[in-house]
Symmetry: C2
Subunit: 432 residues, 2 copies
């Protein structure tokens, strides 16, 4: 039996060079409602999206899948609890669609509204001073449904870890093996918790999907919840896989974006807190922000949540989290995350180490699983493949959350139509 | 690869004669919290519960699984919507635990409290005149978690169908094939919708698990969401399986409890309403009763909900549904289900046809996927394997909902400790 890997969730590197050059149907042509995936009783064969044959992550089926992961694989809930949701105040404005910005590498202006289609946006919400000023849904997403957050998940795990650090329950100067002795034969044997949190580990771990020998494939196979083939001898869970990761280069010298670091951090967070990542996220965040919907994680064959990319959540709930981060960990009258933890994220990581990664985000850095733009507004962001985003601009008192299903995985393929749009909107909101 | 069948969910017949004679650890000894299933990061090998190896439905692992199905297989949500839950009023009383009743076939009295342990109760709630008078949680269930409803699911599907009938969207006198032409080569070719709703079809379909050739195995294999083995030639979904069901005897002559009837009814309900069973249940019931938690169904490999036994829901939400049924379809100020539909259920089915089934529930009948006791209180009930129950006593203005994880599947094995307890409580509440 073919094991389908979780390639799609795991990285900001490209699907393949090929994918970038391919011409895809545009957002309207690929609309999952229009294409009627999984529609009918039963759906027609050619409209059926399956996990086992890999169709679920092909484009344009992907545009249905992003809002329906739980129908394809086992998941674990992040409970909102039973209390009434706390509504976000609303001051919608009609002028945002017409705001213009200039895409990177272009000399033609583009409107905000046009950028949403260009980016295959499924849902986008803008908070300004805590009020919803803009909210739109497209594709398979509805206001009362959840969407895959992909690697935005990493920033949730990094925030939980930073919280534990400033509560004295996790020591970043300690070694990984002080918390996870099982990793003593792996690359993590001589890595510190801090190096994992900032992804400055030196690992033999390629997330290059165009290479069939890339380690990302074995990682995906280990974490795949389907039964393994009879002759399969490899690791059978995320945790088993992590014990096989080998070192390459030195730890602490440069930033290297590797999903396995977040899996290790999720493991550390669980050991340090005594709660699984989904349960800790529920107790400390999801039950405390008046969330409208319970969220969920995909899990491996022994029920471990995919810390590197498995979160699925509602758009407005993502906005609540972003707003809490903008307010230095406060939400309403409550301090949810220690202010020092949020400050530690916002102050960013080592820019020189970041530059060594070769990622084309000039002047940025990476800290506690967050991307720090170091721009003049102090913006920081959570990023996931296919366009998932939390973008927080403290100076503009603005939070943007976006779910998307772009045919190309890596954000680099469409940052040109997003990052300048966000920054232009921030400047506009400060003036208008 | 071994395909694990969904045997467990499907029937009120016994696991096996063997199981009935086996001595199982009692409720305390088998407590899933005590046994620490899936506890730790990762859980120890001997504490790991898996879908693929069948451990999930072995006893006592089953006691963990009943509250965690979604961690083992794909599911689809029954959304509660985004509104605030409507609290059930509460007038708890302390005298219920000491109420005594005499189990069937015994001459020794037993207390209500003792019966809960005897029945491996995971959660039980009693409403009297709409107030919560008693609520307890045990085992793996918490007030903010959901539990498998097993065949209680059937009564939800039957209620939806009855609703459509009295709204003029479904005609019980029509033939099944008028709605589902795909069934024209099956046993359902000459069955009416009414015969399906009351399970009076004549089918070659055994749910006897002690027979390895019983049709229930092929049904479970078809509905199993895991990929099929390469050499597998059989049906690949619930709907494909239903097309293979063969006739045995005549339709309309006797009651025969067969899960496939509910699968057919779910298909009819979807076609007649244009909505899947989970979506119709959400729109017409889950979003309208102030539910505290979204529910979910397990699904097959093409995303079809298991209408015969796949619902998982919160205990208090089950109570809200039961209370609505007690009030002839009203909940608060709203008529949720047509009063005539509830009356049609409560007035019951043909007792003579019921008697032909050989089920040891003297004087009972079956109507629209509900069990009607025809006792002096007019009680009617929804029943699922391992002890799942909604028990509605209109005369006593009482609703009991119970989730359980009894080691034996069929209710007949423990009705002796449940039915007289419910009736004694009803009489007590009418007098005290």
């Amino acid at each position: 039996m073919k094991i389908i890997s979780f390639l799609f969730l795991l990285t900001v590197t490209a699907f393949s060079q090929h994918a970038e050059k391919k011409v895809f149907p545009d957002a309207k042509e690929s609309d999952p409602e229009l294409l009627r995936w999984m529609n009918g009783f039963p759906p027609a064969e050619e409209k059926t999206v399956r996990f086992s044959d890999g169709t679920f992550f092909m484009f344009p089926q992907l545009r249905w899948t992003v809002a329906n992961f739980r129908q394809l694989m086992p998941t674990v809930r992040v409970s909102r609890g039973l209390e009434a949701p706390i509504p976000l105040p609303r001051k919608e404005r009609s002028d945002i669609d017409d705001i213009e910005f200039t895409p990177i590498g272009s000399d033609q202006p583009m409107t905000w509204a046009a950028s949403l289609m260009k980016n295959y946006t499924d849902g986008i919400l803008v908070l300004h001073k805590g009020n919803i000023v803009y909210e739109r849904y497209f594709g398979a997403l509805k206001e009362d449904e959840v969407h895959a957050a992909m690697s935005v998940t990493k920033s949730f795990v990094g925030t939980l870890a930073a919280m534990l650090v400033f509560e004295g329950k996790l020591d970043t100067s300690k070694m990984v093996v002080d918390y996870i002795p099982e990793l003593k034969e792996s690359a993590y044997a001589d890595a510190s918790v801090r190096q994992v949190m900032d992804m400055t580990t030196g690992l033999k771990f390629s997330e290059d999907y165009s290479d069939p020998k890339a380690e990302i494939w074995a990682f995906g196979t280990a974490g795949n919840p389907l039964p393994k083939p009879k002759d399969y001898k490899g690791p059978r869970s995320y945790y088993e896989y992590l014990q096989t990761v080998q070192k390459q280069g030195e730890h602490g010298t440069g930033f290297g974006y590797k999903t396995v670091n977040t899996e290790v951090l999720g493991w550390i967070v669980a050991r340090a807190s005594g709660l699984s990542v989904p349960n800790l996220l529920s107790q400390r965040i999801w039950r405390r922000l008046g969330m409208e919907q319970s969220a969920y994680f995909t899990v491996d064959g022994i029920g471990t949540a995919f810390a590197g990319g498995g979160l699925n959540a509602g758009l407005r709930d993502m906005a609540r989290f972003g707003e809490m981060m903008r307010n230095n960990g406060r939400f309403g009258e409550q301090q949810i995350i220690p202010q020092a933890a949020v400050q530690d994220i916002r102050s960013g990581g080592d820019k020189l180490k970041f530059n060594k990664s070769g990622i084309n985000l000039s002047g940025w850095s990476y800290r506690n699983m967050w991307w720090i733009t170091n721009n003049e507004h102090g913006a920081f962001t959570a990023r996931g493949v296919h366009g998932q985003t939390i973008y927080i601009d403290p100076m503009a008192e603005m939070v943007i959350v976006r779910f998307a299903s772009h045919p190309i995985a890596k954000n680099a393929a469409f940052d040109a139509y997003s990052l300048p749009a966000y920054h232009s909107l921030a400047k506009y909101l400060m003036q208008n």
